[in-house]
């Protein structure tokens, strides 16, 4: 059994809450709970929010496409956008040992995506970024 859905998300701050609600609802409808649901929601939130934060105001009519496919063994999230090339896998590593005084919010989100997903691949094709994250259901 394979179940898929796709959303087009405007790259504006006010679109993220609705996308989160859509993703949560879809996962619930398909019986995805626990760790797989948590990591899937985190991937969408972190990657789309990062895209929005790096989209200038004049480009806020641009969109990203978020696709989720559920199988018996895994959940696959594919996020595509037309923004300039950016490979989240090559983003600077987070210093998780930094003391409180030196900590900043930047970098934590993509670090979590890299560490908590079971597979993460990036490709640039047809002038689009395509990030694919696989989360095991077991």
């Amino acid at each position: 059994m394979v179940n898929s859905t796709q959303w087009t998300v405007p790259l504006r701050r006010d679109s993220l809450a609705a996308t989160e609600a859509d993703v949560t609802g879809f996962l619930s409808q398909h019986g995805i709970a626990g760790h797989a649901a948590y990591v899937t929601q985190l991937v969408v939130e972190e990657v789309v929010r990062n895209l929005i934060e790096h989209t200038p105001p004049y480009a806020h009519d641009e969109t990203a496409t978020v696709s989720i496919t559920v199988t018996a063994r895994s959940v696959t999230v594919v996020i595509e956008d037309d923004r300039p090339p950016f490979d989240p896998i090559d983003a600077p590593p987070l210093d998780v040992t930094a003391p409180l005084e030196e900590r900043r919010a930047g970098g934590m989100g993509l670090h979590l995506v890299r560490r908590l997903t079971d597979q993460l691949t990036y490709e640039r094709a047809d002038d689009r970024n395509r990030l694919t994250a696989v989360v095991s259901r077991s």
């Binding site: 809450a17 948590y38 985190l42 998780v96 409180l100 560490r115």
Partner: protein
């Protein structure tokens, strides 16, 4: 998302975060959380036992308020995180910046030492 703040008689603020600290949840509690922790001149224990979800945005709120308290000479301790919330916090190294303990008694001991 709910925030329950308790003013203890021992001069420590105890705050419980309950629900999902996603983008919507953060908007619901961000100002209240800053008011209950960073805006006060006293240590804070943050109870995460009822927290179901946190991502980097929520972690940034914890870091920001803990830094504000530290600048005033007070500490923050996180208590009771479990499951995926605990895993996410430790994966981001939050436990290296803000002490994380399993129960209130250990949190009180840490706050007393600070």
């Amino acid at each position: 998302m709910q925030l329950e703040a308790t003013q203890r008689t021992d001069g420590i603020t105890q705050v419980a975060l309950i629900g999902r600290l996603d983008v919507t949840g953060l908007h619901e509690v961000d100002i209240k959380f800053h008011g209950a922790t960073a805006a006060r001149k006293q240590p804070a224990i943050v109870d995460l036992s009822g927290l179901e979800y946190i991502a980097s945005l929520g972690m940034g709120m914890l870091i920001s308020c803990a830094q504000s308290l530290r600048r005033k000479g007070y500490s923050m301790v996180l208590v009771g995180a479990t499951g995926d919330v605990d895993t996410a916090l430790r994966t981001a190294g939050i436990d290296q910046a803000i002490p994380m303990v399993p129960d209130i008694d250990q949190a009180l001991q840490l706050v007393a030492k600070a």
